[in-house]
Symmetry: C2
Subunit: 177 residues, 2 copies
DNA sequence: GTCTATACGAAGATAGAC
DNA sequence: GTCTATCTTCGTATAGAC
C-alpha cells in the first residue's frame, strides 16, 4: 500500500539521480509514478516544493544517522563508524546520494538552504572525529576530505563497480586514516 | 581581444557552475556574454554542442595536466604531485571544477561520454599512483577515494573557505596518505 | 483525491536584415 | 559574423469534471 505521495517521491528521485532536477519535468515524474500530473501539484504544490520536501527529509535522515553512528565513539573508532554509516546510507539511498553530490556545491536554488545543512552538519561530524585523531590538522578541511573520499568512492562503487562490497569500499577509504 | 566564442564560453561556465546546465538558458548565457542569442547558435550549433565543446576541452586540459604531473614521479611523490596539480586546476578553473562535480556521476546526457573520460583517465592516474604506495589495496577504489578527497576538499575551499591557501588544503588531503 | 484539458510563459532553434 | 524578430515545442501550473 504505497501511498501516491510515496510513489511520486520514489519516481522523482530515480529520475533526478541521472538527469538532475532541472532536466526532469513533472510530466516525466508523473508518468514514471503512474499518476496524473495534477496529482503531483495537488500533493506538493509545485515542482520546487516537491524537491524541497525530498531534500529536507533526506538531509534530516542522513545527518541523524551520522550523528547516531558517532554517538559515544571517539577517535579512529568514530571515524570508522562514520565512514561505514555514510556508505550504508549511500547504498540504501543511492538516488538521494547522487542528488546530494550534484547539488551540494550549487547556490541560490530553493532547496539550497536545506542541502547546505549537509555541509554544516554532516561534514561537521566528520571534522569533529578527525580532529580527535589529528589535533594538529585543519579539522574543517580534513573533515571535508574524508567526507569527499567516502562519498566519491561510494558513488564510484554504486555507479561503476557494483560488484564490490561495502566492506571493500570501507577499507579503501579507511586505509588512509 | 577576447573572441566572441571565448566570451560565450566564459559566460556559460560562470552560469552553469552555480545553476547547472539544464537550469541555464541560452538567453541567460547570451546576455551574460553581451552577445545576441543567435551568435551562440551560429558559433556552437546548439546548446548541447556548446557544452560538449566546453567539457571536451576542459577534460582534455585536466587529464593532460594530471598526466604531466605524474610523469617521471612515483610513490608518495607522485601522489603529492597529483593532489597539488588537481588543486591547482580547481583553483585556476573553479567553474569547470564545479561543473565536473555535478556531472560526473550522471548518465545519458550528450556530453556524458566526454566527462566519462575523467573517471577513466583522471581517476586512473590517481589509482596507479596509489597502487605503488599500497600494493595490497584496491587501486580503483583507493584512487577514487583520493580523487574524491581532493575534489571535495578543493571545492569546499573554493566555495566556503576561500581565505585558506592551496597548501592548507594540500596538507589536509595528503596527511592521510 | 485523482484525473483530463487547457492556459500561459519560457526556452531552443531558425530566418533574414545588416 | 552578429543582430532582431519569429516560430514551435515543451513545461509549469490551474480549472473543473468525476
Amino acid at each position: 500500500m504505497t501511498s501516491v505521495r510515496q510513489q511520486i517521491v520514489d519516481a522523482a528521485l530515480a529520475l533526478v539521480a541521472d538527469r538532475g532536477i532541472a532536466a526532469t519535468s513533472v510530466d516525466d515524474i508523473a508518468a514514471a509514478a503512474g499518476v496524473a500530473k495534477g496529482s503531483v501539484f495537488y500533493n506538493f504544490g509545485s515542482k520546487s516544493g516537491l524537491f524541497a520536501g525530498i531534500i529536507g527529509d533526506g538531509v534530516a535522515r542522513l545527518t541523524e544517522a551520522l550523528r547516531a553512528a558517532a554517538e559515544g565513539r571517539s577517535g579512529a573508532e568514530a571515524i570508522d563508524a562514520l565512514v561505514t554509516e555514510l556508505l550504508t546510507q549511500i547504498r540504501d539511498h543511492p538516488d538521494f546520494a547522487k542528488l546530494v553530490a550534484t547539488e551540494i556545491f550549487r547556490r541560490g536554488r530553493d532547496w539550497q538552504e536545506s542541502i547546505g545543512t549537509i555541509r554544516r552538519d554532516a561534514m561537521g561530524v566528520f571534522a569533529a572525529a578527525v580532529a580527535q585523531v589529528r589535533p594538529d590538522s585543519d579539522a574543517a578541511l580534513a573533515g571535508a576530505a574524508l567526507f569527499g573520499a567516502t562519498l566519491v568512492a561510494g558513488l564510484d562503487w554504486l555507479v561503476f563497480q557494483p560488484e564490490r562490497t561495502l566492506d571493500d569500499v570501507r577499507r579503501a577509504v579507511i586505509a588512509a586514516w
